[in-house]
Every structure is written in C-alpha cells, then in structure tokens.
C-alpha cells in the first residue's frame, strides 16, 4: 500500500508546492535533532538488512547446510552453491510466475473497474456505492481472515489447492489496490480529449489505445508495480491456499521448523540489491526528466 503513497508524491500533482519556505527556517532542533533522529530511524530500518547480508557469509556448523545463529567464520560457499538448497530456486521461480500472472490479470481488471467508477455517476451505475464499500473492506480486512475464508471456500467446493488457487487469491487481493491507485490518477482526466479523438474519426478502440491509455499509463504502471510487490511478498493468504505448490515465502516459513538453508539469506541479499538498484535508477531518471 505504501508504494502508492510514495508514488503520489513522485508526481507531486495537485498539491501546492511551497514556493517560499513557508514553514520558517528550521529552528535549532529542527536543524540538528530532527535530522539526527530521522537518520537514526533510517539506520534502524536498514540494520536488519545489513545483518542479513553478514549472515549470508556465515559458515555452517559441522557441514550441515543450515544457518546458525553464532558466527563461525567467513565463507562465500552459499553464493557459489546458491542453487543447491532443495526446492528454494523452484519456489522462487514459482513466486515470480505467480506474481507476473496475478499482476497482468489484476492490472487489466482493476484499471477497467477504476474507469467505470470514475466515469459513471451513481444513477447510471447501480451498485457503485456497494462496490466502493467492497473495495474498502477488501483493502482493510486482515489477511488472516481473507486466507481462512478462501480456504473455507476451496474446501466447501472441493477445489484442489495449488497454483490455480494461488492465482485466484492473488488477483483477488490485488484488484482493489490497482483500482484505487488508478482511480487516484484518473480524477483529473479531461474527457474532451476523447471526444476530440471521436470527432477526428477514431473508433472506440483506437481512442482507448491512442488517447486514453497513454494518458492513464503512469497510474496503471503504479498499480501494476503495487500488485507485483503485494503478490511476490504475500505469505499469509498463500500459506492457506497453496496446498502442494509452495511460493518462496511459504517455503521459507516451512523451513524454519526443519532448519533454514543458508541460501535463503543469499536470495534475500541479491533480491534486495537488484530491487534497490532498480528503484534508485528510476529515481535518478525521474529527477533528470523534471
């Protein structure tokens, strides 16, 4: 959910930019204590990631390929044998596949829903209020309730749990986030542009592809990014509906009972590095454009 909040400000539209430093120059504590405190909080947020990185180089005890709490010496063995932990790599690819499929479906469905919600007034669109309530409760409901109720559904109708039920569940919890994200970007949309396209002889499909879609693209991309992030990291719902197919977080959680393979921290470190690199480069590109 937080991706959106961050993203809304990346665009910075619609809000009065403080041209002059209206908030007065920072007071003495604003110059020293507040930044110092903020950096401490950032250090607290980064600290576990550093610990994860250090532990990914920790030797194991007695040749058993399991992470150990105590420090036994430096090794790059787990990076060299990253593929050797049973089931870990395949669980990772399963999560990627699942996230891509769930993102594709939920982005299309969520975008269409957002457009319908913005364009039609309650009188034209029966049940608009109810749909908005459903979206709201869907986002706010605790995940354990969603996971448990889905399990109840699949058991009641005797649906075997596996990749398909994972896709069904992931699309379900991504749609509302996509719809809300896209809707936030749609509110300032000028419909006169579409009418102009119609006047110039474009059909509904051409108008959508050449006029509407390019204009709402930033919102759609933000929604898709959010859906991907939600899906790839989902544990609670997945744990209820995964059955025989184990996504990455479910497999790691299961391994906490039998011994965690050290490659888990290798995967964590590499995924973190790649993700941060992508985010920083997109920030840099965004800055260059403005």
């Amino acid at each position: 959910m937080s991706v959106v909040a961050g993203d809304a400000t990346l665009a910075g539209e619609g809000r009065p930019e403080p041209a002059a430093p209206a908030a007065k120059r920072p007071h003495h504590w604003g110059r020293i204590a507040l930044p110092a405190y903020s950096w401490l909080v950032i250090a607290y947020l980064v600290f576990p990631i550093v610990v994860m990185f250090i532990y990914s180089f920790n030797k194991s005890v007695g040749g058993v390929p399991q992470v150990s709490f105590s420090w036994n010496g430096f090794t790059t063995l787990w990076y060299r044998t990253w593929n050797d932990a049973p089931g870990l790599t395949s669980a990772f690819w399963l999560s990627i596949r699942l996230a891509l499929i769930a993102t594709a479906i939920s982005t299309v469905l969520g975008t269409l829903l957002a457009m319908a919600l913005v364009r039609y007034r309650p009188r034209q669109f029966h049940g608009k209020g109810v749909i908005e309530q459903i979206l709201f409760v869907n986002i706010a409901a605790p995940e354990i309730v969603m996971g448990a109720s889905l399990l109840g559904l699949f058991v009641t109708f005797n649906i075997g749990r596996g990749f398909l039920t994972l896709v069904l569940a992931h699309v379900m919890f991504c749609i509302a986030y996509v719809a809300v994200t896209v809707r936030a970007r749609l509110t300032g949309f000028d419909r006169a542009l579409e009418e102009a396209a119609y006047d110039l002889g474009a059909g509904p499909f051409t108008t959508f592809r050449r006029v509407t879609l390019p204009m709402i693209m930033p919102g759609v991309l933000a929604g898709a990014l959010m859906a991907f992030a939600l899906s790839i990291d989902d544990f609670v719902t997945s744990n209820f509906v995964s059955g025989t197919a184990s996504p990455f977080p479910v497999l790691i959680y299961a391994s906490t009972r039998v011994g965690i393979p050290p490659q888990v921290f290798v995967f964590g470190s590499v995924i973190f590095a790649v993700g941060i690199a992508l985010a920083l480069s997109s920030l840099a590109i965004g800055r260059k454009r403005t």
Binding site: M1, S2, A5, T9, L10, R15, P16, A22, A23, P26, L34, V41, I42, V46, P48, I49, V51, M52, Y55, F69, S70, W71, L109, L113, E132, Q133, I134, F136, V137, N138, I139, A140, P142, I144, V145, A148, S149, L150, L151, G152, L153, T156, M172, I175, Y177, A179, V180, T181, D233, F235, N239, F248, I252, G268, I271, G275, I276, L280, L283, G286
Partner: protein, 272 residues
C-alpha cells in the same frame, strides 16, 4: 465487470461461507461439516481464547504506538524539510519492503538470539548483562511487529503532513504564533485524520499477524492469528477457525466503521 465478479466470488462469497461455517459442526478427522445452526460456537470460542484475543490487542496496539512515536518526527521532517531529497527519504522508509516479510522477521530472530553476534557483542561490551534475553518474550514480538509495519504508519503520516497547506501555517506565523503554538494548534489538528488512518493501517495487520509471534515469540504469549492458523491448517476444525476469524473480522470492521463514520470512507484511501 469481470473485476466485480472476481471480488464477489473470491472475497464476498468466502466471507459468507465463513459465517455459515461458524454455525456448522465439523468432523476434524474427515473434514466434513454439517449445518447445525450452532450459535453457541462463537461465544464458546471467544471464551476459550480470551487470553489470545487480549494478547493480540495488546501487542497490536503496543506496536502501533511505538510506530506512531517513531515515525511522526521523521514524517514531519521529510514533509517540511525534505526539500529536493524527499523521494530519496521516502524510499529509505520503504527499504524494509525490498526484503521478503518472512526473511525480515527471521533476521530479527538472528538479531535477538542470545548466541547471535549482535547480542554477543553487546554482552562483551557490557551493555547488557549475561542473562539478558528477549527472544521468546512478548517484547520480541512487539519489536518485530513494530519493525515490519513501520512503513504502514510513516507513509500515511507523511501524506497527511505533506498535504497541509503551507499558507495556513504562514497565516499562523503572521498572527504571531510561536513555533510551538503553530505546531500544537495548526499542524497537529490538521494531521489527525492521517494519524487515525496510520493507526488503522498498522493496527489491523499487526493484530491479525502470526508470523512474528511464531518466529520471535516462541511458545509464550500466543496471538489469535496463530490459533486461527492452527485450527485451520493443523487440527482442521473449520467451524472453530471460522468462528474465530469472524470475531477478528468484526473487530477490524468496527475500527474501519468508526473511522468512516467520523472521517468519511473515501478519506482513508487517500492515505494508501
């Protein structure tokens, strides 16, 4: 609209089924449930797991308050003094999300473990005494929850503070308000919807969480999420699990309902 069909079939219908399951009687061995209109199951389960409900409320609230206190100053700093580096600092708030939730929680187990290098170092430096331990206590669970859900608090607070019209603040200064008065009587009141949104968006997931409790809390102080998970996935008593889930849902809905009553149902979405 296909999206609505999807949501109804996989969100609304399951909730209805969950309600009806809580009135059924299930045979854990075969997994078969028959409708017995067993209205007694709900109060019976609540009574049985009263401690776990209270533990969850307590840990969820404690973690949320820790998060509010930790993140208000940083959200304030980024919103008012972030300048051109705003996006960079917001990304720093999101840094934990670049590591999988389960791995993040696992790392806290390593940090808090008595044999881990962090506590070993603190012991050698005599910063903590020899029999200091956190892992397996409620404090470890609260620490884990607070860490995992901090961005859920910080970002709504940031959105609320960023949205405050600077001209209102300027007007306060023009009318000879001191910094303290401007903060107490302009900034703080205007950020109240954001504070409530942050509270709900952090408390609801923290209240229903069971990963932190399972990994960091050991066998002590079980939370309700753990009980629900076990009744569904271990003992297979769907009626009992559904009854407990209904209660968790109702508690969350009461919070959401109160919020939308006071501040409008769409306003919380602005903080997502």
């Amino acid at each position: 609209m296909p999206a609505v069909v999807w949501l109804v079939l996989l969100f609304v219908v399951p909730l209805v089924i969950m309600l009806s399951l809580s009135l059924k009687t299930c045979n854990p061995a075969s997994g078969a449930c028959t409708m017995t209109w067993n209205w007694g199951e709900l109060p019976r389960q609540v009574n049985l797991y009263r401690t776990e409900f209270f533990t969850s409320l307590e840990y969820g609230a404690a973690a949320t308050i820790v998060d509010l206190v930790l993140s208000f100053p940083i959200a304030y700093w980024i919103a008012f003094y972030g300048g051109r580096k705003k996006n960079f600092f917001l990304m720093m708030l999101l840094v934990p999300f670049f590591v999988s939730f389960v791995i993040r929680t696992l790392v806290w187990e390593f940090i808090l473990s008595p044999s881990g290098f962090f506590l070993t170092f603190l012991r050698h430096a005599h910063l903590v005494n020899a029999n200091f331990h956190v892992l397996g206590t409620g404090s470890a669970v609260i620490a884990g929850l607070a860490y995992n859900y901090l961005p859920f608090t910080a970002l709504p607070l940031y959105v609320a503070l960023e949205r405050i019209d600077r001209r209102v603040l300027e007007a306060a200064y023009d009318l000879y308000a001191s910094r303290r008065q401007a903060f107490m009587r302009v900034i703080l009141p205007l950020s109240i919807p954001g504070i409530f949104a942050a509270f709900l968006l952090t408390f609801i997931p923290a209240f229903g969480d069971y990963v932190n409790q399972q990994i960091l809390g050991g066998t002590s102080s079980t939370m309700i999420g753990t009980v629900i998970q076990n009744t569904f996935l271990v003992t297979g008593d769907y009626a009992a699990g559904s009854a407990l889930s209904v209660v968790v849902l109702v508690i969350s809905l009461v919070g959401i309902w109160l919020y939308s009553r006071v501040l409008g149902s769409r306003s919380i979405e602005e903080y997502l």
